[in-house]
Symmetry: C2
Subunit: 432 residues, 2 copies
């Protein structure tokens, strides 16, 4: 295989906006001497004087003022500051200034990607965002280009490494949610405020991007229903294992048979141990796409961390260097879609009760009235009658019906703790 | 996300050379009305009159003469006839005629890819070959572009769907090799002559391509050592399971610490059940790449069949339509490398003997003399003494030493059948 220079390479000047963990990893890559024709030209960060390091070439301009970047001769702006604003505004202004942009910003791409890609197209500049979803996995390029010839029907993923780290810790050592969270914070996986991770906002943004890029369905990010992993307890892994499953925060978007709309959700689910989703360990991410022609393709890798994310950013930069400053025309059949919340699946419900006769009967009556069929009732031995956990699984039904029944059940006075409900990923959804 | 036309699209005329299973799937995709700006313009096949179908537009030219394609106004030639010649010559001449080329031909890319990519570069035309390796998995694009920012050190894969189908059948129902082969042939997975699949030539070509594209190491395809899966018997799966493993045809290329050379091989190996390689079921392919920065990334999908392969071909065509007729300059740090055959691993040796006292002693003496340490001796009950299978596992050692010891052992007169030797994929090589 010969891979050599075809024509001469002109330097591509890169302005790095944001010099945190990811930004510093990107800078290290750009300065490792092996990235020609990429050249770091600017580093922009608030109060940049604190940030100056000696291992970048003296030719690099350090500034705290984004206007310097806009006025500069940089060809590409790398945005790694995160958050919606000012990042979104800066990306737009960089494009309008005729610069291409590489961003790792899932929130900006999920909420403003539509307009920004339009601006990029009008300016004939690149706007690449491989790092915004599952950093170490080249999933954006894979669904946009590698599988462009297929027609994707479903995206299923473990998209939040922090949740996955916590859930695998709870599974391995039966530690509590709070303990797992503390560990994740000590390892630097979780923020001081873990809301975006554990309650699903982070994965929600990534799923919205995958829905648009992979399924060609543009959905309002905020309309993807979220359910937190906070209620999951160690005991749920014991019951999950009895059902041949584990528990993951699953992000799921599926085109409703041929129509425009999709069902989508981010929530904890029971996942068969045979599913690639169950194989996501520690802070790994997994993405499974289901194509009309190619069948299921599964990707697994490290979703976060400075270096995997920097790999994605630098790969985008090299793609721009290959393609040249003028962005190739890009088109994709994309339509606006609504999110249908309800989707059919077997259901897992875990109750912790103050034991007394007749409880199963009262539950059964409610399920019956909602047309729900009990599949199994599981109870582990050796728990105190004052806080006795047991599990009911239901045959496949809509999540709406399950929720309605649960709302009634929550009104009973025998609960020692609030019930927990999770859909069970149907085995049909595992790789063949 | 907005994905719309940026500038107007000019039609991309596609000449399809080869109208077998893959060619027909490609044609169906191009004629499904959703592939604008791709337009099928020619179909070229030997004795094409037998091939004419009514579902392609009347505007398509049918010909048996490749010269017609060269003289035509086609922008891109899709080569899906397979085999080294005339395919290689036709690809070169198509490039020289100013046409871009998309090929599914692993043999051509493995053996002539270097020169052909050079010709393409000189002509500033595209030569894309996503379909040549693991059809349904966009692995070429992923390692060339998606992970371009990383420095890949190892590629590990299950690259031959036919072998994997056969091995999973032997594992599931303990059928014989011959029975598994017959089934594979009935399902259309295996050719009448299965040599290229079961003896490793097919995977060898794919591994050579991945070594060049992924590791930046250009190796002479024929120098990658091959060992056939033919000697594998159902009983080996029984012993493998006792060792927490299964058996796969593993293609492996790894950069020798920082140096130019690589160790590479295609052979049956014991694979820990926890490895993604063990999860390749039926005709699936799995590729694992190990990057200095991004860690391990694993890909699984369907490696063969008309439609997954056609998805890869059409995805390459859409990439050309996006990029325009002039190929973007492409460079890659690639060096010529030699293949070092020897690699360290624990070893599995299965003997079938006519039982008598002292056999273990004679084996032990040979291993001792070669400095090899026995890790375990396993023997399943209830086998006749006249053909008694048992297994010896060795602590990690070079394959050369293991082979030398085995050569001596084969000279003993107690063998009822020739011994079988397979390396055991070290657990360290599974995903974390």
């Amino acid at each position: 295989m010969a891979f050599f220079l075809n024509g001469s390479i002109s330097l591509v000047r890169v302005a790095l906006v944001g010099f945190g963990t990811v930004g510093q990893s990107v800078a290290r890559f750009l300065c490792d001497g092996a990235r020609r024709p990429l050249a770091l030209s600017h580093v922009c960060n608030r109060r940049v004087e604190r940030k100056v390091v000696d291992w970048v070439p003296p030719t690099v301009t350090w500034t705290s003022d984004f206007e310097d970047v806009l006025r500069s001769d940089a060809d590409v702006v790398v945005e790694v500051i995160g958050g919606l604003e000012p990042a979104g505004d800066w990306i737009r202004r960089a494009l309008e200034a005729g610069k291409s942009v590489v961003t790792a910003n899932k929130q900006v791409m999920a909420h403003m990607g539509s307009d920004l890609l339009q601006t990029a197209a009008e300016q004939e500049r690149h706007l690449l965002f491989e790092a915004a979803v599952a950093g170490g996995i080249p999933i954006i390029r894979s669904v946009r280009e590698g599988l462009a010839g297929d027609r994707l029907r479903r995206v299923l993923g473990v998209l939040n490494g922090t949740c996955n780290y916590m859930l695998t810790r709870m599974e391995a050592d039966r530690v509590s949610f709070d303990e797992a969270l503390r560990e994740a914070q000590e390892c630097g996986y979780a923020e001081a405020d873990p809301t975006a991770d554990v309650d699903g906002g982070d994965a929600q943004a990534k799923l919205a991007i995958l829905s648009a890029v992979g399924l060609g369905r543009r959905i309002a990010t905020g309309t993807i229903p979220l359910r937190s992993i906070r209620p999951v307890e160690a005991v749920d892994f014991t019951y999950a294992r009895r059902l041949g499953c584990t528990i993951r925060q699953v992000s799921r978007a599926e085109v409703l048979d041929g129509g425009a709309d999709v069902t989508a959700s981010v929530q904890p689910m029971l996942v068969p141990l045979t599913s690639p989703l169950a194989r996501a360990e520690g802070s790994q991410n997994v993405v499974i796409v289901d194509g009309a022609y190619g069948g299921e393709t599964a990707f697994r890798g490290f979703g976060a961390g400075g270096e995997p994310t920097a790999v994605a950013v630098v790969s985008d930069l090299e793609a721009i260097a290959r393609a040249g400053p003028i962005a190739p025309r890009r088109w994709q059949r994309t339509e606006d879609a609504r999110v249908a919340v309800d989707f059919e699946a077997p259901q897992y419900m875990r109750f912790v009760i103050v034991d007394r006769p007749g409880i199963i009967a009262s539950l059964a009556e409610v399920f019956l009235r909602h047309g729900l069929n009990i599949d199994s009732v599981l109870q582990e031995p050796d728990w105190p009658k004052s806080a006795l956990p047991f599990v009911v699984t239901l045959e496949p039904c809509g999540s709406g019906a399950a929720q309605a029944a649960l709302a009634e059940i929550e009104a009973f006075d025998f609960h020692a703790r609030p019930p927990v409900w999770m859909p069970i990923l149907p085995r049909g959804e595992r790789c063949p």
